[in-house]
Each structure stands twice: as structure tokens, then as C-alpha cells.
């Protein structure tokens, strides 16, 4: 998961690495994803989310395409 200056820079990077385009998020979307994913990580009772729980988290952030499916 990398930061780029623009769509054009993403395209150039994908071409250099011979990779197709993946998913592109705004910095705001990525912050909300990071906050949702990691805010409870220091809790002693933290556990990995189940696949269904992770899908629900992605869905709550509007990340509903096949790209975000874990299975």
C-alpha cells in the first residue's frame, strides 16, 4: 500500500512493476480504514477479525468491490 502524487504516477509505477491497477483510495479513505482497522490493536483482548467481520468493516467504508474480498 503506497502513496502517490497522482493517478498518472500510479500508472507509471504499475507499468514499471508490470502490475495491473489495483484499488485506489483517497488519503481520507485510507485514514478511516487505518483508524477502523488499528484503533483497538493495543487492547489486551484484541483478536484477529473473522473474514465476515473484516468484510463488514470494508463494507462500512464503502469498499465493496471484489478487490476487497478475503476469500
Amino acid at each position: 500500500m503506497l502513496l502517490f502524487r497522482s493517478e498518472e504516477h500510479i500508472d507509471r509505477w504499475c507499468s514499471a512493476w508490470k502490475l495491473g491497477r489495483g484499488a485506489t483510495l483517497t488519503v481520507e479513505q485510507t485514514w478511516r480504514l487505518a483508524d477502523s482497522w488499528y484503533r483497538d490493536r493495543l487492547s489486551p483482548d484484541w483478536r484477529r477479525r473473522t473474514v465476515d467481520e473484516a468484510h463488514e468493516l470494508f463494507r462500512s467504508l464503502g469498499l465493496v468491490s471484489d478487490f476487497w474480498r478475503l476469500n
Partner: protein
């Protein structure tokens, strides 16, 4: 297979020492802190890695990632501005770098660069507001179902 209680105490101790020392604890230090054998820590960390809770270094078996924190320097420097004063960390990627700020519930910023051209970029978080200077976009190259195929590349 170690008990869930031991692995829970180990996981908590990893983060506790990481945050206290500002660097990832070695396995020997964890064994001393938990008053157990090094072999217990070595085996339990492998089990946590198998469960995708940690990522280990391939040769030494030491911790590489206690997500969102990286044990080794990366291109994602995170500065946090909590009550204890400014601290500096490394994130594994831009998602994790922002995750460090979220996890520590402080204001902070990520110092990084455009992965294409190398232009310096700073993403700042203050309260719930996030700003990238210059403006940026985040690209996820690998679909979610393949993230753990090669988590270091990802």
C-alpha cells in the same frame, strides 16, 4: 501448541515493550520479561505468525512486523505527538503508518515519498482531519485475498 493465554500475554508484552522502548523487543528480552524459556517465546511467536498476528524475519526469527509497527526502518516514518511528547516510529506501508497514529490515538504525521517519483510527501493527522502535502492517492496493488501471499512486498 501454547495456550491462548500465553500467546495473549506475549502479544501484549510485545506492544508494551515496543512502545516503552521505541524499538521492537528481541525474543530474548520477551523471554526475560515473561519469565519463561526463549524456546517458549520462539515457538509461540511462530504460532502467532502462522495466525497472521505477527510477521517474523526470515533468517533470525525475530519480529519484523507487529502491525502496524515495523521493527526495521522503512520508507514510512511516523511521528506522533502524544501526551508523553514526540515519538518516532516506522510503519510497514501507508495504511500501517496511519494505523500507528490511530492505534496511539494521538495527532501525528507520516513522512514518506511518492512511490513513483520520490517527491517528499507528508500526511498529517490532527484530531480526525487528515491532510496530504502535496495531495496524494493511495494505491493497493494486491487484492485482499492475496495480501498474505507475500506480506512483505504487499
Amino acid at each position: 501448541m501454547f495456550s491462548d493465554d500465553f500467546k495473549k500475554r506475549l502479544r501484549v508484552k510485545i506492544y508494551e515493550l515496543f512502545l516503552a522502548d521505541g524499538r521492537c523487543p528481541k525474543l530474548e528480552k520477551l523471554a526475560a520479561a515473561l519469565d519463561c524459556d526463549l524456546s517458549d517465546v520462539t515457538t509461540a511467536t511462530k504460532q502467532l505468525a502462522d495466525a497472521h498476528v505477527l510477521v517474523l524475519q526470515p533468517q533470525s526469527g525475530e519480529i519484523l512486523m507487529a502491525n502496524p509497527l515495523s521493527a526495521v526502518p522503512t520508507a514510512f516514518v511516523v511521528e506522533t505527538f502524544g501526551k508523553a511528547g514526540p515519538r518516532s516510529w516506522y510503519g510497514n506501508c501507508i495504511w500501517d503508518a496511519l494505523g500507528v497514529i490511530a492505534m496511539l490515538r494521538s495527532d501525528g504525521r507520516v513522512l514518506t515519498s511518492c512511490a513513483c517519483c520520490g517527491e517528499g510527501m507528508t500526511v498529517s493527522v490532527k484530531g480526525d482531519a487528515v491532510v496530504s502535502e502535496p495531495a496524494g492517492l493511495v494505491h493497493f496493488a494486491i487484492p485482499a485475498r492475496r495480501w498474505w501471499d507475500d506480506i512483505v512486498f504487499n
